[in-house]
Amino acid sequence: MVRYAEITGWGKCVPPSVLSNSDLEVLTDTSDDWITTRTGIKERRISHVNVSDMAVVASLHALAAANLEPTDIDLILLATCTADLVIPSAASLVQAKLGATNAAALDLNAACSGWIYALNVGTQMVRSGGHNRVLVIGAEKLSFLLDFTDRSTAVLFGDGAGAVVLEATEEPVGLRSVEIGTDGSVADILCVPGVGTAGNRYQGDPSDYAVHMDGPEVFRRAVTAMGEASSRVVEQAGLSVDEVDLLIPHQANVRIIDATARKLKLAPEQVFVNIASYGNTSAATIPMALTEALQEGRVEPGANIVFAAFGAGLTWAAAVVRWGRRVEPLGTSDAHLPPVDKTAAELLEANVAFYGEGRRSE
């Protein structure tokens, strides 16, 4: 029997605290107009909880949509570059909080490309017969790794989580073609230099704890890699561009999305964009967007969906997924994060104090 891995459940977790562009105007020298025209982002979420907490909420929604219990899951893959802790993995915390006692659990770090990497790994584990029901999660708390007085990076990122359930099936659905790639030789154009065991544990420079990015160079490489990898997976799947029903790209910058869509010669209605609401949530953007696409009726039974991403590493990934018959959830969950009594700006008070008031007047 040939085994395939079908996406049978989907869910997301959106932290309640909203940081708007006008909130950012108070923290750093920027403006709503500047951010909107350059990135397409209007607001982003700041999480008051940890990555594993967001991952659990997204997973409970995905499990409900698949009508499964946590104990039905035999593997948890958590794509993240902002795990709660270095030890243990955030996936272990998710496994415990879900009570997914039959599941092995591990984190997978390919930064913003991580969820497609994890989808590929999960699919291969199902196809090879080793696992039957896999949670593939993307969850991130990028706000932890930002300097909110640095307008070049603070405006771009946000927090959130998305998850899907993969189940073994004999139907020829799920991943049809996939490409994952890495160019570690230029890793320094997008990195956090001081968080990890290479960092200075005792007296690091504050800027080492924040994202460093050569924006134009990352942009150029992202547009090229996402466009070319997407074209290749569409061709490998034996599809023409007309047969692509929906491109769900990593949401990093609306101009990267537009350029990728132009390279593929896709019409706007073939592309799903929700960056205005969340910014770049790294590995979480695609499962969050997929969940919203399903909720908005943008996915038809049997649809050909293209995923494409680019991120730190540098990594890139693209995939074609053939959707199954069911586009409605089997069940729903009321899982949600605990309430928060602080605004997003209040959650960032320690960050702004750490990075200093001086940056604002530069």
């Binding site: 350059r38 924006g215 134009p216 942009f219 150029r220 547009v223 090229t224 910058n253 101009r255 350029a259």
Partner: protein, 81 residues
Amino acid sequence: MDRSEIENRIKNLLVSELGLDESRVSAEATFEEDLEVDSLGVVELLMALEDEFGVKIPDEEAEEIGTVGEAVDVVEAKLAG
């Protein structure tokens, strides 16, 4: 391809790819000041030029491009080999 054709094609790219107002695009216009093209816009322009003319513009030559006319100069030199 003569210089006026290169110039016309570059002006068309600026309008279609970067959404610039045609009336503001002259040979003397500077990208950053006159046309208000930001750093990502410059990257978009370079990639569009490379696609349009089938040339490769290295970073050090790209840094010399400040005006529309200078973009024409670089592309003309590339096409002349």
